[in-house]
Subunit: 385 residues, 2 copies
């Protein structure tokens, strides 16, 4: 396209921050040095009071809004909510969005060189946790001169990072927006992740994680992992109304070629992902999800776990999300209330399942925008003209 | 064990019926000759009025009750419901249970010799449908001298066969018991089946289905297929209360070995299945599930589709079954009512998800037994002493 949409942040370029201070990780290992790739949208004000941090989900990255070039087919993954006049209004806020450590989009991760061996880390990259990510994001904030975020915002695994921010750095976060998340995975959530991991790790092209050394890619495994994931991202209804039992061609072929539209969709999604995402990163991200459980250190008492939090929360869930259903968000809401925190909660009626957090559902936008308006007002940011 | 339980049908032996009449299949091909392996429990009465046909599910087989030997660790898969004094009371009923065509437990299937080539059928075995199975079961009934079944009974894919019986042979079925089934798969159901198929078919040891010729077994694929299946058989609650987030050992290992109990369970289930079930059979069974849709030939009007049925139905669903949820059973119930059929429906409150249909849940047993009592009475079978 030559004309970018008027409500877009426009053309953006990622930047890279290099860190030389060793980062001690929850797994007991230390990352001696690392890069974080990130994007920013909008302008940091003189008071440095208008910064928003975006945390990404399992297969996300730093490119949350705008376009890397005029030829880019799609904008960043959260463009529906970040831009001039949008819920996260870049006319008022300065938005920071980084690729997580362990990722495969520019931040140090399994595909990066391990300086100690001068070879790619591959499967030897240390296991990351949500706490580690939050720690590294706080260092990025230091680098950018941001003492305190007006809000930290994220969906799904991103929402877990937001919750961790309120516990690790309560003094550095003024507001928390936790969308389509859960305070910990259920056994069923872990089970789906385990299927994805087994699919990747049992692919003969995985080579115990050293596929790069063999000039191979565990495409079959990643494809299966993504197919399983996709089923859990869509509601049964959304899948039903999108595909139903519609056939690709007029007749059944009584074979294993694609017959139903939903098969075609899943294979396409899986194929695309399998050549664009790093398998070791996928494994690591699913483990970070499994490990997240702030209540564990408090004998399972989530209200005790969230005691350090010191900011208002917005918690949002979606009616047909069966990956992290509304009652999982309510668990968090109830714990926050028991702990005496300020919390707004909205369960959005949406047919789109877990994926709804990415989409421009009007009621979701209204709730999200209203909360962010209040954030702006509290920070003394000028009203939009 | 040396003593078998008193309410068991005891030691049983499978028998094999060979058929030489060609069987024309829905896919357009013809099976020239075939075997059906089956078991029977109880005694066929002189009037031949007390026969019950059991239809099995995706990974089931003919061994539904009793023991093959005193050393057998577990009885047949539906032993909770078939035996002296049980819902399907073998003191009164004569029970027939056959392995479906295309199966891998003795009936003609992909592992059988193709008489035209003198090699195993493998992936060239014709695609089967629920109608084909019902057709072959009717021939087995002919062979056993059973003109009309007092009831045809099945759960899950077995329930679909029961429904098809009422449409293909309304004059040969006096009662239908359809448990934890659906009149057609949803897009999500098909999606899960497709993941299972892709897992098997993308396993390099699958060799386009000719794994036997290569001395190979697509174990990785079958294991993944079974793992995915197992998640859908258990309710989220059942998985949660069975495993929760319990760890195998005391600490996280920050690696990819088993950490959570649920991972261990799924891997074990997958491993066991991957060496005991035939991959081509699994593929074929999932396709039979996908294809089943009696309403399709009636423009989607299920009430029109069930018009030929001419017997009372018992339809049973389970509250936490999310594979074939209660509302899918209600679809069938509503269509039967609209079509003016006699139907009893029970939604059983159970925590066990889809697997509940295999288990001895008391309320389920009570409903099932009451219906079968009525069946016995209608057939003029003597009351139990």
């Amino acid at each position: 396209m030559t004309e970018l949409p008027r409500d877009s942040v426009g053309l953006v370029s990622p930047e890279t921050a290099h860190f030389d201070d060793p980062l001690a990780l929850a797994c007991g290992r230390t990352l001696q040095a690392y890069d974080l790739v990130y994007e920013t949208y909008g302008t940091l004000n003189a008071e440095r009071s208008n910064a928003i941090l975006i945390c990404h989900a399992l297969s996300g990255h730093h490119h949350a809004a705008g376009y890397h070039s005029r030829d880019e087919r799609k904008p960043g993954w959260w463009d529906a909510h970040i831009g001039p006049g949008k819920s996260i209004d870049t006319d008022r806020f300065f938005v920071v969005s980084a690729n997580n450590l362990g990722g495969c989009h520019g931040s140090t991760g399994p595909t990066s060189l391990n300086p100690e061996t001068d070879e790619a880390w591959g499967p030897d990259f240390p296991m990351m946790t949500v706490s580690d990510w939050v720690h590294s994001q706080a260092r990025l904030a230091d680098r950018l001169g941001i003492e305190r975020f007006a809000a930290v915002v994220g969906g799904s695994l991103g929402g877990m990072q937001v919750l961790q921010w309120t516990l690790s750095y309560p003094e550095r976060i003024a507001n928390a927006v936790v969308i389509a998340a859960t305070p910990k995975l259920s056994a069923q959530n872990i089970a789906f992740n385990e299927v994805a991991r087994q699919a990747i790790r049992s692919d003969p092209d995985y080579f115990d994680g050293h596929y790069a050394d063999h000039g191979a890619l565990p495409r079959r495994g990643l494809k299966l992992a993504r197919m399983v994931g996709h089923i859990t991202y869509l509601s049964e209804d959304a899948m039903g109304s999108k595909f139903g039992r519609d056939l690709r061609s007029e007749d059944l072929n009584f074979g294993y070629d694609v017959e139903f539209q939903v098969e075609s969709y899943l294979r396409y999604q899986g194929d695309t992902f399998s050549t664009s995402f790093d398998a070791n990163t996928y494994l690591l991200m699913t483990k970070a999800l499994d490990y997240f459980d702030p209540a564990a250190a408090h004998g399972g008492d989530l209200a005790a776990a969230v005691a350090p939090a010191d900011c208002p929360f917005l918690v949002v869930s979606f009616s047909t999300d069966w990956r992290f259903p509304p009652w999982r968000s309510k668990e968090l809401v109830n714990a926050l209330i028991r702990a005496g925190k300020s919390v707004s909660y909205a369960n959005i009626d949406s047919p789109h399942g877990h994926d709804a957090f990415l989409l421009p559902e009007p009621r979701y936008q209204a709730v999200f925008a209203a909360f962010m308006q209040r954030v702006a007002r509290d920070q003394g940011l000028e009203d939009r003209p």
